[in-house]
Amino acid sequence: MSHPLGALVTWLLILVLVGLNSAGDMLTAKSMRLVGDFGKLRRKSGVLGIVRAVLSEPWFYLGLLAMTLSFFFLLAVLSLIDLSIVVPASASMTFLLNLLGAKFLLKEHLSRRRWISGLLVMGGIVLLRT
């Protein structure tokens, strides 16, 4: 299928989607880190205990807000751009942004292997644009 939008607008839309996606992922990951293992929570206070713990975590709502915004933005973008461009492109760029966020914001350990993988993913994105 051809692209009715200019390349610049297409990639701008995808970049906004990536920002929203990544914010949602990082905020959600941070909130779940604070909530703790669902398995342990369930054994201690049941499924309701999990629900209570999640709903009383402020970061969870910020993550949910970012994910909701990205969901409606995705709907709009999908009506304009092919799924086979939007999903791999936005997901792989979100992947790289999340890697950076995981290292610098969430303080996760990232090995050299993970950075090399990031470059492979980046190369994939360049090919996707052709």
């Binding site: 709907l75 890697l99 993988s117 492979l120």
Partner: protein
């Protein structure tokens, strides 16, 4: 890793992949949404395909929350990206979108990068007074 955790990872891949496919199918039926008619978006979930896609994405979200409660974001991410090839195949066979060879190569490169990450040690465990805390990754 327990059976339940594998099931959760599978639900993440399937929920996000098929969720996106059905959303796209529904949005194609609805057609272009202009800036002036942005409120059409609010009624989009009334389309059956968009509704099905939404249910699948909610399933994805709940599995995602559960998985992030015991694993790093950088550990869960490869699982969510594992669906790229699946997405491309669905877009091709279910929506009839054409995928030129270069785009296929791009998708394969992304898959290789993801596979390289998952092939390595994805977790560094740290002992705590209570035992091993597998959701924590520490610098060694």
């Amino acid at each position: 890793m327990s059976f339940v955790r594998y099931v959760l990872l599978a639900l993440i891949v399937l929920g996000s992949t098929f969720g996106d496919v059905y959303l796209a199918k529904g949005m194609k039926q609805i057609g272009d949404i202009s800036v002036r008619r942005w409120h059409d978006l609010l009624f989009a979930p009334l389309n059956p395909w968009v509704a099905l896609g939404t249910v699948l994405l909610i399933m994805f979200y709940l599995s995602y929350l559960a998985s992030l409660s015991w694993a790093d974001l950088s550990y869960i991410m490869p699982a969510t990206t594992f669906g790229y090839v699946l997405t491309a195949l669905c877009a091709h066979f279910m929506l009839g979108e054409a995928i030129p060879p270069a785009r296929w190569i791009g998708i394969i490169m992304i898959s290789l990068g993801v596979g390289f990450i998952t092939g390595g040690p994805s977790l560094t465990v740290t002992p705590t007074p209570e035992g091993i805390a597998p959701h924590l990754e520490v610098h060694r």
